[in-house]
Symmetry: C2
Subunit: 150 residues, 2 copies
DNA sequence: ATTTTTTTGCAAATCATTTGCATTTATTTT
DNA sequence: AAAATAAATGCAAATGATTTGCAAAAAAAT
């Protein structure tokens, strides 16, 4: 069952790459699989470490630039979303591409990151619209001391 | 009247520096005056340009590092707030230090920045609290096409 | 199977930010 | 007010993440 699921996902991911007119490469599939399975954000360095440790590691060496460029392409294709906590490091997470979006809470002590599945900021968006803006998007991240650290 | 007001502000700002145990220097006063008068955010480069053009320019040359370190100190002292739009450039604005806070909307085309004076995100904060977090803060910025650009 | 296009790997360039240190300026002490 | 102490400034160089150039390799199209 699990094996079948994985195969299914892999095909799906390859299909989405094809639809986005992106070549299907081992790096891209590996990144997408990892992001898809793990519901979390990854810095590029973290991704490289995790991919190295994988059972089915990539044959080629895992190079920063390669992962970086894969992520750029996947971001363009809306398969990956970039998350920025203002600490100078870009992080990435899987993007279902179905309009869902969420925010995060970052522990100011241990830097643990947790997803917040809700986003109730319609009021503010309304006001922004009143100001005459279009195609409004927003970034919102929370910072605080998590249970373990307080 | 205006002159008197300015003098008043200058004294206030010097007083706040004193209270924060920071030396009162021309650079710091000039930065604070500019930030206080202008209700907007400034990158360091923008600050340097603006300070150069001032009627009462600083005697010493305006050096990036100096402005940078001033802003760091002023941020610590909560007289200045740093704003991050995720474009790799830090910006700064005056901070009254009275608990007010606001967000911004950035035009995705012309990069114009406007302040949003309201912040209705109590619901989300409640949920974050339920998760066990303390000292919760957040970052939120909006992006969209402004009137002039759409 | 061959050509064409895209991706990868490595090195080097960028760009904003940060740090080191000698000099200057501000504050404190005498 | 002058001397001593502490802090800030200016310049150069270091840092660190990101981005780019280009030749080699891999994938897609013919």
């Amino acid at each position: 069952m699990k094996g079948h699921d994985h195969a299914h996902h892999k095909e799906d991911l390859a299909e989405r790459l094809k639809q986005a007119h992106l070549s299907i490469t081992p790096s891209r599939l590996a990144i997408l699989e990892l992001l898809h399975e793990s519901h979390r954000v990854w810095s590029i360095e973290q991704l490289i470490e995790a991919l190295k440790r994988r059972p089915k590691a990539l044959k080629g060496s895992l190079v920063f630039t390669t992962i970086y460029r894969c992520l750029l392409k996947l971001e363009e294709a809306k398969m990956v979303r970039r998350v920025d906590f203002g600490d100078g490091v870009s992080r990435f997470e899987f993007d279902t591409g179905e309009g869902h979006h969420h925010h995060h809470i970052v522990c100011t002590q241990c830097n643990a990151i947790e997803a917040l599945e809700d986003c109730h900021i319609k009021e503010i968006e309304k006001n922004v619209k009143k100001l005459g803006y279009q195609n409004i998007s927003h970034r919102m991240e929370f910072f605080g001391l998590c249970k373990g650290c307080s």
